[in-house]
Symmetry: C2
Subunit: 217 residues, 2 copies
Amino acid sequence: MRLYSYFRSSASYRVRIALALKKLDYDYAAVHLVRNEQLAPAFRAVAPAQLVPALVVDDPERGELTLTQSLAIIEYLDERFPEPPLLPGDAPGRARVRALALDIACEIHPLDNLRVLRYLQRELKVSDEDKDRWYRHWVETGLEVVERQLAGHAQTGRFCHGDRPGLADCVLVPQIFNAKRMSCRLDHVPTVMRVFDACMAEPAFAQTQPSACPDAT
Amino acid sequence: MRLYSYFRSSASYRVRIALALKKLDYDYAAVHLVRNEQLAPAFRAVAPAQLVPALVVDDPERGELTLTQSLAIIEYLDERFPEPPLLPGDAPGRARVRALALDIACEIHPLDNLRVLRYLQRELKVSDEDKDRWYRHWVETGLEVVERQLAGHAQTGRFCHGDRPGLADCVLVPQIFNAKRMSCRLDHVPTVMRVFDACMAEPAFAQTQPSACPDAT
């Protein structure tokens, strides 16, 4: 397998965690987003959406295949390499974990990615200060929603769902890295941070973090 | 089942289509987003994330359960009521359909929802004209990415994937409704529009469209 990744891309980090939890080996292909390498024709040929991550796999049914969109990649990995499972064995549990992952992947992350921040600054002429305020607003209010769904819920365990890390944790941890990098407030989400700390005690999360990537600067 | 929905919410429309494709009956509970009814304590008790859609189901394992996040709801419906399937039977196919759905649900829609547009205007003092330009930018560039992945792909059929409507179509059609309402350019995405037209010829898509909802104004 070959993973096209950028060390600071939180969507890439989600997939790095999933691959590590499943103990799958892969080649690391760096795509430098700040230098716009994702827009180069060579990468467009790999991934028409020109977004990282992209995972090239050798599928038993279809041969070489390029997968995109981090959540779709993780679901594929979970189907093809079931151990350890990243989704619960019951339909209501899977719905809860997927919803938690989407609460971050759809409600927080898209507003704060690099191309959006660039548009705010370059096209809408938003000041640095307002851009940072925008960033923190969506992270802080979005994580509060996640907190509300984790705190006191019977199925929240050491991790987002029970005592084994799964899909929701793969999405939560990279978002906290972004939040810390942008000095977002985090004292209002104690359950989120407890789960984050539990994750970071696991090698699969620690060893794939941005600073540990081959392309980290 | 009870669906909390707003007629113009495209995430709600996704679930309405899925329920209709599976011929499932439900009560329609209107939540008026422009009047901020999703922020009222009564709705927060139902859905802590205070977003529509939310689907209350009677789960055979867990009893009454409130599901949130449209894509997680549709996956749950597909697991519990398998016919007709909304995801392909093979892992690579599922990965493709999920990625197409996420190309819209994560890359286009989050940037153009009501609370984001309100923040741009109220907090960042972006003009009406710039707000509309922002809206159209993400729709037009995002749909171009979807077009690139549909056009000429061997698995694109009458619908996004093959000749039966599925998860990706449930997400695509509401996005096109939004695009039309905001007068976005659509002539650069002919395959997308061909699939849209095929969907709108199906009662499940036509009968659940915004103007057909009980709360339509």
